[in-house]
Amino acid sequence: MTSDSRPFLPSLRSVRLTPGKPLLGPTESGQGNDGRLTGRLGARSGEVVDRRRPIRFRWNGTDLVGLEGDTIASALLANDVQLISRSMKYHRPRSYLTADYWDPNSLVQVGDEPNVRSAHRLLAPGMEVSAQNVWPSVEHDIKAANGLVGRFLTAGFYYKTFVRPRRLWPAYERVLATFAPGGSVDIDTPHGYYDKRYSHPDVVVAGAGPAGMTAAVAAAEAGARVMLVEHEPALGGHLRFGDAGQRAVVAGLGRELDRLGVEVLVDSTVTGRYEDNWLAINQRSHPGVVERLIKARAKSLVVAPGLIERPYVFAGNDKPGVMTSGAVRRLINGYAVRPGRRAVVLTANADGDRAVEILESAGVEVAAVVDARAGGDVVAAHGPARRLEEVERNDGSRVEADLLVIAIGWTAPTSLLNMAGDRPVYHDAGARFVPGAALDTVLATGGLVGDGSLDELLDHARATGRLAAGRAALTSHRLRFSTARARAVDGPEPPWPDDDRPDFAPDPHPALFRSSTHGMVDFSEDVSSKDLVAAAAEGYDSVELLKRFTTATMGPSQGKLETVNTVAVLAEARGETIEQVGTTVWRPPFAPVSLGALAGRVFEPTRRSPMHDWHESNGAVPLSAGVWIRPDHYGDPAAEVVNTRSNVGIIDVSPLGKFDLRGPNVTDLLNLVYVNRWSKLAVGAVRYGVMCTDDGVVFDDGVTGRLATDRYLLTTTSSGAAAVGEWMENWLQTERPKWQVSVTPVTDVFASMNLAGPKSRMLLSRLAPELDLEPERFGYMQVRIATVAGVEDCVVWRIGFTGELSYEVHVPADRGLEVWQAALDHGDDLGLAPFGVEAQRIMRLEKGHFIVGQDTDGLTKAGALGLGRLVALDKPDSVGRPELVWDGTGDERAPTEPCLVALQPTNPEIVPDEACQLLRPGTNEIVGRITSSRMSPTLGRSICLGQVRSDLAPAGTAVTVLLIDGRRVTAEIQAHHAHFDPEGVRLRG
C-alpha cells in the first residue's frame, strides 16, 4: 500500500486542515504528536496506510483527516479520539479492545448505516461517522445513569421485574424500547444493490492466514479449483502485521495463489456451513455492489480462521486503554498509530513478549511487564471512567499507565466445524478448545489445530490442502459418474485419501481466564463475571441455560471473545473443570450478515403476453395476476361489459394454461384426472372437465378439445397450468408408466384471444372467411383448426366463459399481435372494443361460472359445485372418485356440508365484500361466506356467489350477510348459479 510509484493525488486539494492538527503526523519514526495520548506515528516498514492519500471524514460533526488504508478506528485513534462508544446496558465509556472485526466496542453509525464495525470498515472520503445509542453525546451520555443502579440490573432483571402484572407489559415495552441498543435507520434510505452468485469450487478455504494460503496453494497444485475466503481486507492473517520476514512469506504465498489461478475473496466471510458443504459466503468487497452473497457448494472445506485473542477478566477490564496484544500489533505495525504513551504489559505467551518490543519500537514507554508465566497478574485497572491511570498487580503494587496490554491466550473459533457436526474438546495443556473428531470433507488447519513453528504450521496446512483436494477429486468423480450431462469419468474411482497429516497440537499455555477480581466477561452485552456467578447460583448452571439467561455470548461479538471466559467462570462457580462444563454450540452465521445480503438480488419473474405492448400503449391498467401482467381494464370495466353484451369485445386470454396431448392413452389419462367422462369425445368436440385431488377437492378446471384422432388440446386455469402439468406427469410417470401419452406444455406457443358478444360471429367470419361458422355445423363446445387473419394453424374454440356467444382463438404466439390488430381493424364498425380481466370477471359472475380458487377453497369437493351429472361416479376410476362417492354430489350430501350458490342481496345497491360471512338469520351462527360479488352493469343490481350449508341452499332461502362495517343485510339464494341468461340462449345462439 505504500508504493513509491503512486503519484500525489490532487484529491488533497480538497482537504482543509484543522488548525493545530498536523495532517500526517511526524514524518520520521519516533515519538507521536505532543500532548496527545494516541496519534499517528512516523512511517513504519510494513504499514498499510498510504501517507500521500489523505482522506477527509467527520466524527460526531468534527472534520478529521485519515489516510487511505486506515480503518475508521485507526483514523480516529490517529486523531487522538479514544472514546468511541458506550456499552449496551450501563453505557460505560468504551474504546478499542481488539481493534479488529470482533471488537465489541467499535460499533458506530456511518451516514444512515448503523452498527458499522469501525475497526474493520475502511475509511472512505466524506464518511460521516458518529457514536450511536448515546444522548446527548458519547462524552456526556445521560443513560450512563444506568450504571448507578447497576447492582440492581443484574441478569434476569427484566424477566423478573416486568413479568407482572402482564397487562402493563405494553407500557413497559414502550419505555424499554427507548433503551434498545444500536444505531438508527432512515426508512427512506435507498436499498443498495445486493448481488448474488452461485459457485461450485472443489475446495473452499476459509481463512487466508499463512495456513489458509498454504492449504489453498497445495490444493490448487493438486489440481483442485480453489476459492480462498478471507475475513479481513487483505491476506496474511497475523503475519500481515508481522516483521519483514513474515510479510515476505505472505507475499510469496500471494504470488503462488495468483500463479495457480486461485479465486481469492478478501473482506469476505464464510458465514455458514450447511448440508453437503453448502456454504454461505458474504462478500463485502465486490465492486459496484454493497454486498454479495455467494452460495457455494464445495466438495471440501478447509477451516483455517486462525485464533482470536481472548480478553482477561479483572476489575476495570473494559476501561478505555485496556487492549489485547493483537490490537497493539495491528495499530502500530499496520496503521502506524500509537495506542498510548505509557504501557503495562500482562503477558503469558510470545505474542505478549513481542508486544513489548513493538511498543518500544513505537516510542511507547513500557512501564512494567507482568509475566503470568512467572506468577504475575493484574487484578485491577484504576482511573476515572473514561481513562486508565493505574494498573494494580497481584502483589498490591500500582503502576501508572494509560495503556494496559493483555496477552493471556486465545479462543479457537471452531464455528464452521460446529456447523459440520464437530464438537470441540478442551485441550487442558493448551488452555483452549480444539477441533474434536476429524470430519471427512471439513478439515481444520492452522492455529485452530495447534501451535509450533511457522514451518510446522505450513507443513500441516500443505498436507491439509492436498488431503482436501484428494477428497474433492473423489467427490467430483462420483458426481460426474452420476450426472448425465457431465463429462464422462475416465478410469475407476480413485481411492479414498487417508488422513496422514503430521501431528499438530497446541503448545502448553497458562490457563488464565479470570483474575482474583471480577470484571466484564461479555463486553457486547455488559455481562460481568459476577452476573454469571449469580446466575449459576440461581440454578442456571448449564452453559446453554446460562447463555440464554444472561445473554452472554449473544451480542455482536457472537461469542468469539467471551465464550471461553464464560465457560471458565461457570466452571469455577460450579467447582468443576472447563472440560466438564463443555462449551456452547456455535451456529450460523459465523459473523453477522446484513439483511440486504440475505435478501440478495430479488428475482420476481413476470410473464407478458405477445400483445402486452399493445395493452400498455392503449391505456390498459395492469393487473398482477400471479406472475402474469394482464390488462385489468381500459378505463371503464362496466362500459366494457355493456359493449360486449351489446356488440362484441375482445380480451387477451393468453395466460390460459394449455397442454398438447398425444398418444393412444390420452383418453385414459383424461378419464383418470377428470371426474367426468371422456371416452366418446369426437374429433372437433370440446368438453368441460373438473379435476380433483385424491381427497375429492377441486383442483382445476378447463376445457379440452380433440383436434385430431391422436391430438388433444387441454386447457387449464391461468394460475393452475404448472401444477396441472406436474399432476399429469406425476400420474403418468409414477402410477401409469405403461400408458403412452406425451404431455407438452404449450401455453406460450399460442397467443389466445376471446371474441365475445352477439356480433362475434360476424367479426370472426371476416377474419376467417373459409371457416364455416353456421351454428349447426360449428356449435357450442366445438373446436376447429383454421386460418385466421391469414395465419395458419389457429385453433378456434366455441366456448363462452362470459356467457356470450364467443370464440376463443389460439394463434401461434409470434403472430398473436398481428391477429389481434386484424381483429380490431375488422371490428370497428361492429363496435368492437377490448375488455379486461375485470369485465370478464363481472360477466362470468353474471353467468354464474365459478373460478377455482376464488369460489372454491382447499376443502371444496366437486359435489359442492352443483355440477350434477357431470361428476361421473359410475366411472371405474378417477382421481378423487372414492371420496366423491362417499361425499355425494346432490341431495344426499350432509346438511352441514357447504355448497356453491348464487345470492342476491335484498337491497340491490349493496355489494358485499368478498369473504363476508353468511349468518343464519337472527343468530350469529356462521353458515357460509360470499366468494364473489360485483355490481352487475347488465342487471343493474348486486350479484354474488357464495358457499352456504347445503340445508340452506334451496332457492328462496334468506340468509344474513355480515358486512365488514358490522351491518347486517339480507340476501336470497337463487335457483341457478346464473344471474343472467340461465338457459344459455346467448351462449348457444
Binding site: 459457485s199 461450485h200 452460495k295 428475482f603 419473474p605 393468453s654 398425444r662 406425451s742 401455453t747 404466439a813
Partner: protein, 192 residues
C-alpha cells in the same frame, strides 16, 4: 484484447420438440438424454457455403424428448426428412418455436454470467460442451444447451430457452448479470 462475451437476445431460433413415448427411436439419432450435438447443414445444390448460425442443435432435453433447435425453416426441413424414416411414424412433433424465447450467451465470461442467476455447476467437468440441462434461471424454468461455436468462435456458448412470456424478464436478468463482465448485447428481430 480478449474476445468479448456476447448476449444475443431473442436469437431468432426455436425448438421443435420430438416426443417418442415408449420408443427407442431416438437412439438412432445418437443423442442421449442431457447431451446435444451440433449438426452441420450441408450446402444445398447451387449453394457454396452456409453462414454461421445455420447450424442446428439436436438436444436430448428429456428422457423421452429431443429438440431440434435452429431456424424454423431448417428445423422443419430436417423434421420433414426424419419423419419419413422408419420408426419415426410414432414420433410426435410439437412446434414449440413460437412459444420459446431463446438467448445465445457466448464468450469467456458466459459461465460467470450464468453463475449469477443459476445454481448449476457450469464447470467444464460438470457442464461440458454438448451438455443439455433443464434448470431454474432467475427463478424461470429454462432449457439450456451448451453449444460452443454455435455462432462461431470456440469460446463457451450457451443457448438459453424459456417460455416466451418470461422472455423480457429473463432478458433483463441476463443483461443485469452480464453488466459486471462488460457483456455486449445484440438484439435479433424476434418480437416480444
Amino acid at each position: 484484447m480478449a474476445d468479448p462475451t456476447v448476449l444475443t437476445v431473442r436469437a431468432g431460433i426455436g425448438p421443435l420438440a420430438l416426443k417418442a413415448v415408449g420408443s427407442d427411436v431416438f437412439d438412432r439419432l445418437g443423442v442421449a438424454f442431457a447431451r446435444s450435438a451440433l449438426v452441420e447443414i450441408e450446402p444445398g445444390e447451387g449453394e457454396t457455403a452456409r453462414a454461421k448460425g445455420d447450424h442446428m442443435v439436436v438436444a436430448g432435453i428429456r428422457p423421452d424428448e429431443i429438440w431440434l433447435i435452429g431456424t424454423r425453416d431448417r428445423v422443419r426441413a430436417l423434421w420433414s426428412s426424419l419423419s419419413a424414416a422408419p420408426g419415426f411414424e410414432h414420433v410426435h412433433a410439437v412446434h414449440l418455436d413460437p412459444g420459446i424465447a431463446t438467448f445465445h450467451l457466448a464468450g469467456p465470461h458466459a459461465g460467470s454470467v450464468l453463475e449469477k442467476i443459476c445454481s448449476l455447476d457450469w464447470s467444464e467437468a460438470m457442464t461440458p460442451n454438448g451438455a443439455a440441462v433443464s434448470a431454474g434461471v432467475a427463478k424461470v424454468a429454462c432449457d439450456i444447451v451448451r453449444a460452443d461455436g454455435y455462432l462461431g468462435g470456440s469460446a463457451p456458448g450457451y443457448l438459453i430457452m424459456c417460455s416466451r412470456s418470461y422472455g423480457r424478464y429473463l432478458e433483463e436478468c441476463l443483461i443485469d448479470a452480464g453488466e459486471e463482465f462488460g457483456v455486449e448485447i445484440r438484439f435479433n428481430s424476434l418480437p416480444n
